[in-house]
Amino acid sequence: MTMAPVNETVNEAGNETAHETVNEATGGAIRPSAAGLPRLLPLIPGVPEDLRGHLARYGRPPYRGGPGHLIQAVEQAGLTGRGGAAFPVHRKLAIVARARGRKVIVANGAESEPASYKDALLLRAAPNLVLDGLQLAAQAIGASEAYLYLHPGASPEVLRALNQRAAVGLDWLGVTIAEAPPRFLAGQESALVNRLGGGPAVPTFVPPRVTERGLGGAPTLVQNVETLAHLALIARYGPRWFRALGTAREPGSMLATVHTNDISQVVEAEIGAPLRTLVNPEGAQAVLVGGYHGTWLPAGTVSTLTLGNQALSQHGAAVGAGVIAALPADRCGLTEAARVVRYLAAESAGQCGPCLNGLPRMAAALAELAGRGHRRQVRADLERWAGLVSGRGACNHPDGTVRFVRSTLTVFAPEISLHSRGQCSATNHGATSRTPFLPLPAAMPASEEDWI
């Protein structure tokens, strides 16, 4: 068993009490079995951990007073960012730690991928673990300001946790809550820094990186909230413990949002676990891996793959922020993809010419392919526009959209042929369901004010 669905009672730690040891660094709390899942999510699924439960399970955050040790432990643990880019965490920590003067840390909970809600769930279920990670990372880099960036109303639990922690003096640095607008790019690092600075949540040109010049010009560390939760555990139990799960190149566990015909749920899974233990590809037309900047893979391919970038990259895919969606046989992949790309086009910040011009055209072309019968040149147009927008944005929005579009054209090539003859395999399966499968916001953004 390598996964722990939040709506089932799965707790391997309970079966391995022989390996539990008392950890002095955590003030006497029980050191959990290394192999035990969940690491991050509550032991009793669906029951958020309040501060008392959190302290009983993990103990107090092990402040060390200085930067050196924790950054080294994070490097040895091999922790990578869980927000989608999988960038080595210790490198960002080290860059900001080296800087002098005012420094900023931001816990990024503005999960803006419509198909992902693992950060939202983590913030509600284990807010104290995220806040521990924020504090420990803040101390490790010598931050002078800390922010928690999230969607309004995302987690009453995290606000309560902040108050409780303040009352018992658990925090090293005060935390300011900052609100993220409901836009796809709101969590993009430079967009986040713009928003915190009082501007719209739109990306800026790199360089400079925000780690060099971020909020108000100060070196700024932005880490995803799940990343910080893992960091809080590495600070307590060490890199060896962290590496007891996962693979040598991709250690640890990760949260994933899994969508099937029957259910959408967040699971905490070991990296390297067979994908078929998370989602049954049988009967699925294809599986979307990595979200709306991700990649469609044929169901047959998915049944042979493991969770992690090492395996997925060989098929042009990446785990991203952990979205895995198995498209049921009774839904049209082309229709679903066209809707997603229309959404992505609408979510372009509109700052860069190629993205502004290319994405709406690609969306319209996909909609044509999803219809019955299309003009002969549409596929060639799509391929050309995909090539034209790649690598030409200030952020990776055009590149991510192109990844999604290209894998759509490859995986659903037979479906495109069917549609050109006026058919659709979704209707061939005798299905009556026309309900959209891939989640999108109920209302598409309409105005410039939506950016702030």
Binding site: A85, F87, P203, T204, F205, V206, P207, R209, Q351, C352, G353, P354, C355, N357, G358, L388, R392, G393, A394
Partner: protein
């Protein structure tokens, strides 16, 4: 160390001056935005490249030191 041309796509408004001054390294896409050769500027075109940078009405075209532009991942 040879420099590399890069366009800041946020600042660029598609005037097209750069492609006119430096067709060897810059072409325009079908919407009028520059497609810049990512390779280091050959010494023979160094002066023309600097001229194109200076002429950009949006101040969007820049020369970057090679090691700087390599630093773009993540």
């Amino acid at each position: 160390m040879a420099d590399t041309l890069r366009v800041n796509p946020i600042n660029c408004t598609g005037h097209g001056v750069c492609a006119e001054l430096l067709p060897e390294l810059i072409a325009l896409d079908e919407w009028g935005y520059p497609i810049v050769d990512p390779r280091p500027v050959p010494p023979a075109l160094d002066l023309e490249a600097r001229r194109a940078v200076a002429a950009c009405p949006a101040l969007a075209l820049k020369l970057f030191r090679a090691e700087r532009t390599a630093d773009r991942s993540a």
